[in-house]
Amino acid sequence: MSEQNDKAFEMRSRALFQDSVEGLDYAVRSRLTQARSAALEAAATRRPWALGWKRWTPAAGVTAAAILGVALWVGLPLHHQAGTLADAQSNFEDLDLLASSDEGSADALEMLQDDIDFYDFADNAANPGPAA
């Protein structure tokens, strides 16, 4: 009995609600239509933006990776790399001079030793130490 009453109550309340929905005035219905149009327009304007973003993502990723790669290769170790190359080049030139000496490699090494002795003498002459 109570369940039947519940059902009757539910049906009546639903019917009343439906009547009130159908009885909405023109102004409200018009504003709802405007709201719906605005929502659909917002969705339509948002999608191309998302689409564009998605479309350009791979290209942007590749570009960023390329820039980072160039920066790491060229920019960051620039001085260190330049110094290393200059030093290496100088050393090779010295070796080349020694190796290509007309007097042969033994004479060249002796000449190098002479230079070292001279620099040692010059250093002592410039900064005389206490007398023994």
Binding site: R12, S13, L16, L24, A35, A43
Partner: protein
């Protein structure tokens, strides 16, 4: 092709542009528009019952439409209704919370106090209609007004369960999804709501 497949295909075409995407996108937009057109008046009335204010109700419905189309339009269309009502109910709750805070602040501020009984009363409501209302329609309107008052007196979750199940015609699973709770909770809330309403309205109603 089932409607779901059509929509998913539309979104796939939309996300992965192809030369013939226009028709699918148009179909998707039509589907969304149809859904909103079908639901908007009932949603408005439910918001109006909860908020007692036409403009606030229109605002929360518009906000729910925007949020649905912006954030959840790519979901399968079967999920739109529970999602929409979840957004709507969140909007209603936020607005009610803001009203409560505003009311508390107003009580601390000096100046004329608002009469809570006349809070949402429109002066035009007291103006007599030019044409005499049909008695049956008048009685229906009165009965609906009584029902609305009783619904407002219910706890929010009970009111929500009753309106979604009874007014919107959702099944238990859909209502549970919209209310973000279990199906058991929906049944409990609904049953309590029906009994509370019947008790308040009496057997005469």
């Amino acid at each position: 092709m089932a409607p779901f497949d059509t929509l998913n295909a539309a979104w796939m075409v939309w996300d992965n542009p192809a030369p013939a995407s226009g028709g699918a996108v148009l179909e998707y937009t039509r589907e969304l528009e149809k859904f909103l057109a079908e639901i908007e008046r009932r949603a408005f009335r439910m918001a109006q019952v909860a908020l007692r204010d036409q403009d606030d109700a229109l605002d929360v419905v518009q906000d729910a439409m925007l949020k649905l189309t912006r954030s959840y339009a790519s979901r399968p269309s079967a999920e739109w209704r529970p999602l929409f009502y979840r957004i709507l109910e969140n909007g209603i709750r936020d607005l009610q919370r803001r009203r409560t805070v505003r009311k508390r602040v107003m009580t601390w501020l000096p100046g004329p106090k608002e009469d809570p009984d006349n809070e949402a009363q429109d002066p035009l409501d007291n103006v007599a209609d030019a044409a005499p209302a049909i008695p049956e329609k008048l009685m229906q309107a009165q009965a609906m007004e009584q029902l609305e008052q009783s619904l407002r007196a219910l706890p929010a979750r009970q009111r929500e369960a009753f309106m979604l199940r009874n007014f919107e015609g959702m099944d238990v699973a859909e209502t549970a999804s919209a209310m973000a709770c279990s199906e058991g909770s929906v049944k409990t809330h609904y049953s309590r709501a029906v009994h509370a309403l019947r008790e308040q309205l009496g057997e005469v109603w």
